[in-house]
Symmetry: D2
């Protein structure tokens, strides 16, 4: 089970979260990554935690002012990237290009999508993983296992029908160890979470709880 | 074989093309549709030709100023719509919503995409058809059968691996009857073309040539 | 005082509103226009009411599938257009191009914006009019005269400092004759409204009330 | 005269350019800044050169995955930012928000625009500076002083009519010391350039030539 902590543009201290995440990963043996803002990638990666970009542009080197080149985030220390997060939706053709750009820079790729149909579409573009983010659960306190367990198992089925080598993550509705276990039971091999750790009063306790069942 | 004539924003007379297309469709028995600008749908549909929108918005009724509601183009006389044309790319989530909006309004749907991987993704969203538009061929004079036949047969294969009920059209590189025949041989069950008819000195002769092998 | 009724993508009958608006305009002598969806422009314009598009694309004739060409909406009967409505925001360069495209097609232009600073920016692009739409008031029941009168007078001042020939309209917070009078007192020479008429049980009564103080 | 070197997404070594720029700035006394990709801001700022972001998002702290927060680039060492570069066009409302976000983070702001009308609009949003980028000159070898000198002097006039405290930069068509001098004669108080230094075989020689007339 893979745990990705998305720091979004939260007013948190990325280094504090990164150090905690590295310690918990080391002690538990669970694979944990932190996804900070682009400007913070170097500092976060320097802590030793697995570091992901939140987005890469669907472009190659060239005249692309304001873009986030896959090569640049890889040089800064990222080894993976989210693509098409619900807060950074891309055109279909640009998801395809961003996956290719990230692969070219040897980044691990996770394409986010809303529902099982879109998860199928994302899988057809051959990323390393996809994450299903039910819009109703994003940013809320409701557990995916309670509110809408079928969306995860349906996403797993939808992806498997197209390409069984693509991992399926649960991208919303997870904030406790019980939720992690439930997501795993539904077929997810990873989870994305954000405020549950990034905004926790005690990020260490939050992470310890998350990895407890693993 | 289905022939869709996209009038884009060309300075052509949409009624002239519509009347010619209706005559050729009636005489040849070939299914032909014309896709005018939204403001022209009513007048084109009144000629009796099958009429498609060039785009519908990924929205339902509501506060969406400047949108193109599926219900509105259906009321105006359209019976189908392009979605995600290379000149009107949409976000993945919006293609999904636009397909659903169009289906709700009982419009036939054709989702365009660049390459076989994206065709697979588009197919996973369950439109009625998909159209592969190799970027290098759009708007040019090169025949898809000469330049890049594999992209059509690969797209047909990519779609069939996901959903055999979704038709695959050839969205670029067709301007003659020979091209139509070649596209059919490669597995396409329809073609999209634009300037080849809309900008022809003699649209009737252009259409007669296109349907000749059918 | 100019009254523009924006039908958005509401599930209303555009012809019913258009006929009522024409009758009230004829009887009161007040300038009233109706802005339907693009697909409905022809039918609405045929009633004799002044008809506006909700949006035009920043393009000329050409390969622009899915665009809304200024010339096409003018041919369909529109004589004006909104640009950059809060539900259809455009890039600065595209507002500039859309204003030029609309002027080329001899459409009256109204560029919408959120606040006095943006109203200044919109005015610098030389449209015929600008409309200030305080985000907090859009779609609500609160009167601009009660909630935030300064935003209208500040917008009037901001526009006048740049180009005194550009009219300033009040784009939100108006639903009654009293609101119309208040907007006029604040310096607005027109108002935009939507649900107040389009969703009214009795559009005729709603319009009669709006023109009463004029 | 201010010189801003935009590294875009070029395959250059940002540290090499940064060190050269710092040396030339120190020796000549000319104000020079380098604008690298977001992921490179920390490393570039650490050289001691004035460092600018290429873009900031029109957002505050919060759930904005994949955004480039003004505070984050400021923390990384940037002291200014481009906004609305021709390769990263923003909606009018978002330019307004990005200028405010950057000001909140105490970043110097330069809003780019195509022509004198848009320069007026950009100036109305009260950034610290605006840069006129004639589309025909972007990325080319033609000098603005030869090809289209009026666009610079018209932009200077357009900005001055609205706010005399906003500086006007010349954003294209400058690659030599003679061009810098010409831009200054036309009223520009700064220049933006990119490939002329970033892709130069000898960036030091290119910069020495640029500052020579100053």
């Amino acid at each position: 089970m893979f745990i990705l902590i998305n720091l979004k543009a939260y007013p948190c201290d990325p280094l504090k979260i990164a150090n905690v995440a590295r310690d918990v990963a080391d002690e538990s043996g669970v694979r944990i990554a932190v996804s900070p803002q682009t400007a913070d990638i170097t500092r976060v990666a320097d802590t030793g935690i697995e570091t992901w970009a939140q987005h890469v542009s669907p472009t190659d080197h060239g005249s692309h002012t304001g873009s986030t080149l896959a090569e640049a985030v890889a040089d800064a220390g990222a080894t993976g990237t989210l693509i098409n997060h619900s807060e950074r939706r891309l055109r279909l053709a640009d998801i395809d290009k961003a996956v290719n750009a990230a692969s070219r820079a040897e980044l691990d790729t996770c394409v986010c999508a809303n529902n099982p149909a879109q998860i199928g579409a994302a899988t057809a573009l051959s990323p390393d993983s996809v994450a299903v983010e039910p819009p109703a659960l994003i940013g809320g306190d409701v557990s995916v296992a309670t509110a809408d367990p079928d969306i995860v198992s349906d996403a797993v089925e939808s992806a498997a029908a197209i390409d069984t080598t693509v991992n399926v993550y649960c991208g919303a509705g997870v904030s406790s160890g019980d939720d992690v276990a439930a997501a795993g039971d539904l077929g997810a091999s990873g989870i994305l979470l954000a405020s549950g750790v990034a905004k926790a009063d005690d990020p260490r306790a939050a992470l310890d709880d998350l990895v407890e069942p693993l």
